[in-house]
Structures are given as C-alpha cells and as structure tokens.
C-alpha cells in the first residue's frame, strides 16, 4: 500500500510517499517512491520540490500562504501526469503525521480520532513552537484526504518507557503534578529506528542488546536503549537539555539563568532566544552552528572553534559512560543524524577515550565510510560495537501507520512506569 508521510513545521511541509506493507517491513523492503518539501510557506516565493528515484528533481516556485494550500499542491504534483508518481490521489491509503509532543498519555503511534486530536491540542502548551504547526498540517490533510485514516507518530512516544527516576526533576513535586514539568525526550522516532537497525546489523536480538543511540543533527540527543526500550535520554522537558547543539546550550546549572537575566537585564523572550538560538556550537565558537564550518575553522587554528568542538564531543563521551552505567553495560554505540553520519572527526574524538569500555575504533574505516549505508566502525576484536546507521524518520512513520492499521502497534509505556499522581 502507499502511505503519504507529512512533517509540518512553521513554514515548511516535508513529505514522502512510501510503498509498504507488513510483509515488506518484515523483509526490510519498504521504500520511498517520492519525497519532497514545500519551503517558505507564507511567502510569495514558496518552493515546492519533488524527488523521484531515477528522475531529475522537480521544482516549482509560487505563492503558498498556508499549510492547506501546501498540502493541496503536494497532492497535485503527486498525480501530475509528467512529474507525479500516482495515477490518482485515491491511491494514498493512509497518511502518517509526524507530531512532536504527545505528552504522557500518547505513548504510542495512534489512529487520529476526535479524542486523540483533543489530546494533541492539550500538548500544545508543552510544545508551542511545534505542535500547532503539526496540527495545522493534520487538519489540512484531513480536509483534503477525508476518506483515509490519519495516524499520528510522536517524537516523545518512544521515551515513555523511561522510569520515573529518569524523568522526574528534583523540583517541588507540584511542578510535575500541576504543570507536567518532567523529562519527555525527543527524536524518539529516530532513536527507535536506529536501535532496531543496529541490532539487525549486529545480527543480535534487540531484546538482549544494550544500545546507546546518538542522534546528532541540528538538534542532538542520545538515548539508552535496553531490551528495545528507551530507559533514559538526554533531552528533557524541551529539546534544550543534554548535549551541546548547533545553537542550543544543552546541560547547564539552572541558577545561571536568573543570574544572567539580572546582569544583562534580559526579558524572558531574550533569555529564551539566547539559550535556544545564540548558544551551543555557535555561541561558544562565534564561528558557526554548522559542524562542517566548525571543523574547517578548527583546522585553521581557531581556538574557540576547537573548544566548541571539544565540548560537543566530551559531552557525548560522558553520556556514553553514563548510559553504560545506567544499563549495566553496553553492547553498541550508534551514530546517526547529519553530524553523526557525516563527521568522522566527531565519532573519532568521542570514542577515543572509551577503550576501557571495550570500544576499539577502526580509524581507517571510520574515515572512509560509504555514504548512506549501515556500517560498523569498530574492529572485529572490539568487545563493544560502534556503528553508523542513517536515520529515516519518514520510514518509521510509514511503518507505524501500517502497524496501527494492522492492529500490531504496541504502546511504549511500560507497566509500573507511572510516577505517583500526588
């Protein structure tokens, strides 16, 4: 069957059409027959692009003022006699939607019903920058593809298996009961995909493999995946916690915040912008939030760029150690995301000090990876494996869509994992 996958941001819609079925998933044979995006929604020069394997990429500039029009154009181009891949829109049998926040209740991918929609609405307050756009995309698709089921796949869901000791903050407990302030974690779809594929690569059972997954992209997070479940992750209440990121601080002493606010006479909005948009690799280096440019600056002898690079790698190393401890050992460390898949230097420096843990990096192999493939980067003698597995969140969303429809989608929350309600 053909599934349309939609990922809606504030001014963009990314999409893929994936040919899939339960059997194809089993055989790892599900694949995208088209992918593309609409960028700059709300502008007079919005850009729709479409890539179909084996064809020249297609692009079209026009005014697209809202998400609904964007989805309309996507459907139109998909059935275009020359550029499209579908004979008619009705070939789409279901739509999978990426949703950032599912809160505590939405602990697995679900069929969107009125009740589910209401629950997603309730999570808007937890993810004001993401959920409203995700919902806008959902509503547009529901209006245009009313006859097919819509499935929501949440970034937070996979981490709902974390035990309370990993997700409750050391704040007064009322902050949790009143405002749902707790750690949720993000990138769950990616961590899950990468963990499953790592076990497959190692020819091991996911159920008895302990994996540290490192999703290093624009945002960066790690997860400790034990017996197929996330038991801890570096991002928390928001995607700001944990690793150093392109422009985000990651972990820091919260007492710094009121202090900086007072000293610089900052408003809450300025503080938020400082932490999310002016910090991280960019803030420390003063050079760039882009790892490629940062590595270049390091080579040119820029000391702050080197420092930013070192902080970035050091935190990952630290968390690998922490998660090995949390899982009572580790069998594999996997890298994914733009930086994780493409920066040999980051992988090398991160793993350099971990031979005590049993990780023996194959330096040459690490430096000369085939692009886009799932590969081991440790020596055959290495007790603990390290791997690179390109992430594919759209594929997971399509897979979950099929599973939900087939009634085989388990919830990620584990029994006995609830924190006290008062």
């Amino acid at each position: 069957m053909k599934i349309l996958v939609l990922n809606c941001g504030s001014s963009s819609v990314k999409f893929q059409v994936i040919e899939t079925s339960l059997e194809m998933i089993q055989a790892n044979a599900d694949s995208a027959i088209a992918k593309g995006s609409v960028e700059r929604i709300g502008m007079s020069d919005s850009r729709l692009s479409l890539e179909v394997p084996g064809r020249k990429p297609f692009q079209e500039i026009s005014e697209i003022l809202e998400h609904r029009t964007a989805v309309e154009r996507i459907l139109k181009v998909l059935v275009h006699p020359q550029h499209g891949v579908l004979g008619k829109v009705e070939e789409i049998e279901a739509v999978g939607h990426r949703m950032v926040h599912g809160g505590e209740k939405l602990a697995s991918s679900v069929l969107v019903t009125a009740e589910v929609e209401e629950m997603i609405e309730e999570c808007v307050v937890l993810a004001p920058l993401h959920n409203p756009h995700n919902l806008r995309g959902l509503h547009a698709a529901q209006a245009l593809l009313g006859g097919v089921p819509h499935i929501a796949v949440f970034d937070t869901a996979f981490h709902q298996s974390m035990p309370p000791k990993a997700f409750v903050y050391g704040l007064p407990y009322e902050m949790y009961t009143r405002h749902k302030v707790r750690r949720y974690g993000f990138h769950g779809t990616s961590h899950r995909f990468v963990a499953i594929h790592t076990a497959r690569l190692l020819k091991r059972n996911l159920e008895d493999t302990r994996i540290v997954t490192c999703h290093l992209g624009n945002g960066c997070s790690m997860a400790a995946v034990k017996q197929g479940h996330s038991i801890d992750t570096t991002m928390g209440f928001t995607p700001l916690e944990g690793l150093l990121m392109g422009t985000r601080t990651g972990d820091m002493d919260p007492a710094v915040l009121p202090w900086v606010m007072a000293m610089e006479e900052l408003t809450l909005a300025q503080l938020n912008a400082m932490l999310n948009k002016h910090s991280g690799l960019y803030g420390v280096s003063g050079v760039s939030s882009d790892m490629r440019e940062l590595e270049k600056a390091c080579k040119d002898g820029n000391r702050r760029a080197k420092l930013a690079f070192d902080i970035f790698c050091y935190r990952i190393t630290k968390y690998i150690g922490a998660y090995a401890a949390a899982m009572g050992g580790v069998d594999a460390v996997t890298f994914t995301g733009g930086i994780g898949e493409n920066s040999a230097a980051v992988r090398e420096q991160t793993l350099a000090g971990l031979s005590f843990l049993g990780i023996e990096l194959d330096v040459e192999k690490n430096r000369n990876l085939p692009r886009g493939e799932e590969v081991l980067i440790t020596t055959p003698a290495s007790r603990v494996a390290a791997a690179v597995v390109p992430t594919n969140e759209e594929r997971v969303i399509a897979r979950d869509t099929v599973r939900v429809l087939g009634g085989v989608m388990p919830s990620f929350s584990l029994p006995g994992n609830e924190a006290p309600s008062s």
Binding site: G42, M43, L65, P258, A262, M263, L266, Q270, M274, K277
Partner: protein, 303 residues
C-alpha cells in the same frame, strides 16, 4: 463588509515608531510597505531599521536568519500609491495635527473605502482628524508604546464616528501582532499617556524643589514600586521635548493645572537636553543609549 484577510500592511512614516511598528508587523509574518517622503529619507529609514535589527542580534533577541526573514517582508518606498494595495494602513508621521490631517485626506482618496486607516497618536483627537473625510468611519486610533517589538499592550481608540467593522479589523490586527488591545474611547492622552505624564511632571517638580536628586527620585520609585524604569529615565527615553509637548497639549486641552509643564522640564528642553537619544536629559547616556551615571544601588540584586 466581509472579514478581510490581513496580509499587506502599509506604514506611512519611517520615524522611530514607524520603523518599530514595521519590524513588529513583519515579525508577525505579514508583508509591510514602509513609505517615507523621498528616496534619501527612504534609504535612511532602511539603514536605521537594519541597524536596530543588528542591535537586537547583539542583545540575543534575534538571529541573522530572523533578521533576513524580517527584512524580506518589508518594502521601502517613497510612493504613497504603494499603500493602495494594502489591507490596512497605519500612519506614523510626526505628532502634528495639520500634517496628519492632510495625509489622511490623501489616503482617503487613494484607498478603497473598506480599508481601515490607523492613526498612531498619543494626544491628538481622532474625531477631529477624521472630520471632513469622505469615509471618516474608517479612522481608528492606535497608540503603540515604544519599543513596539516588546511592549505587550496597545491602546485601540474609537473616535466619535469610527465604525464597528473598521474598529474590529484593527483589534484583530492587534491580536495578530500578539498584543493585548485595550479598547478606549477618545480622550486626550488616552490612558497610558494621561496617567504617566502627571507622574513624570511631579517627579520633575520634586527635583526642582530640591527634595531629592533626579537619581534618588528614580531609585525611590523604581525600588519602591518595582517599576522597570524610574519616571525621569522614562522621560529621558521618550524624549523630554515630547513629554513637554504632550503636557502642553493636555494642559491646553483640559485646562487642568496638573498638566502644566514643570519649569525645570522647560529649562532642560531649551538647553537641548532632550534625553537618552541626545546623550543628556536628566541623566547621561552613551551612543547606544545606555545610561552612564547609574548609582550603585540601582543594579540588579540576586537573592
């Protein structure tokens, strides 16, 4: 009139307020046309708006890409006709009755009658400004407070003949900007200016009488009532000549002696000590308008 989608907003007058409004409107995702008198002025307006965005970047309030996106939605032009294609027009030229009135007459001829025209004023009468226009019902008052990008409130003012559709459109516009609109009926100084001016004037009077120094008066009010700025620094930041003009205007309009400008204020204005932008008012400021002579007690305390 059917509900008009707000997509294009015209801002007539590229002064400090006009630029600040244009920035805010663009940040809300709408397209903006900023019009000033001639090419030279237009170039200056653009340069100043850009440099104010640079200052925001330095203060971590904006990123380079947000700056680019903000600018991409603003068109600068000397052509008043460019406003004709807008869904709503705001005039932000200087606070002068005749100037505003003749601009409104021009706009009234130029714009489709369904397009609301916002007068940005803190003291002038909307009703009087609207008089004699072919479509006086479309004139709505709006009083933004500077800096428009961060203040959460805006006064939306109904004149005697303002019609409901225009008023509701403007109120909706305020919400699109993320502001809390306060609906007010026309009255000189509206709420914010009318309540603030006597406070400033009294603070000046206290200084003149030698009860306390300017710095002490501000410190007292700031720490005592948890004001973000003391009344005299506020006055410096508004511009003492503006404060003086407003007081003068309210005094004439109401005859109420509480609005009579304190002689010390007049004296400072005559000496050219117009406030923060000029480096000197009640206090001294550097080129970036940071106050230089802040007493040690007037610094943030933790715990």
């Amino acid at each position: 009139m059917s509900e008009r989608e707000l997509q294009h907003i015209g801002v007539i007058g590229g002064g400090m307020m006009g630029r600040s409004i244009a920035t805010k409107v663009s940040q809300a995702g709408l397209q903006v046309v900023v019009r000033d008198l001639d090419e030279a002025r237009v170039a200056e307006v653009k340069a100043r708006l850009e440099s104010s965005l640079d200052r925001q970047i330095e203060r971590w309030a904006m990123t380079q890409s947000e700056r680019k996106a903000t600018l991409s939605r603003i068109v600068f032009t000397p052509d008043l006709h460019a406003a004709a294609s807008c869904d709503l027009v705001i005039e932000t030229i200087h606070e002068d009755f005749e100037a505003k009135r003749s601009l409104l007459a021009e706009l009234d001829n130029l714009l489709d009658p369904s397009i609301p025209v916002i007068v940005n004023t803190s003291t002038l009468s909307i009703t009087e400004l609207a008089q004699g226009l072919a479509h006086p019902g479309r004139i709505v008052g709006m009083h933004f407070l500077y800096p428009v990008t961060t203040t959460r409130v805006v006064e939306v003012v109904r004149g005697q003949v303002t019609d409901n559709e225009a008023f509701e459109q403007v109120r909706k516009f305020a919400r699109v900007l993320g502001k809390v609109p306060i609906e007010e009926f026309e009255s000189p100084g509206f709420v914010t200016t009318r309540v603030m001016l006597p406070l400033i004037n009294e603070a000046v009077q206290v200084v003149m009488e030698g009860v306390a120094t300017a710095a002490e008066v501000d410190l007292c009010m700031k720490l005592g009532y948890d004001f973000r700025l003391g009344p005299l620094e506020w006055a410096d930041r508004i511009g003492l000549h503006k404060v003086h003009n407003w007081l003068e205007h309210l005094f004439q309009e109401t005859g109420d002696p509480k609005f009579r400008p304190c002689p010390l204020l007049r004296k400072l204005v005559r000496a050219g000590h117009h406030g923060a932008r000029w480096g000197q008012g009640f206090f001294r400021y550097d080129e970036e308008r940071n106050r230089l002579d802040r007493p040690a007690d007037d610094t943030p305390q933790l715990g």
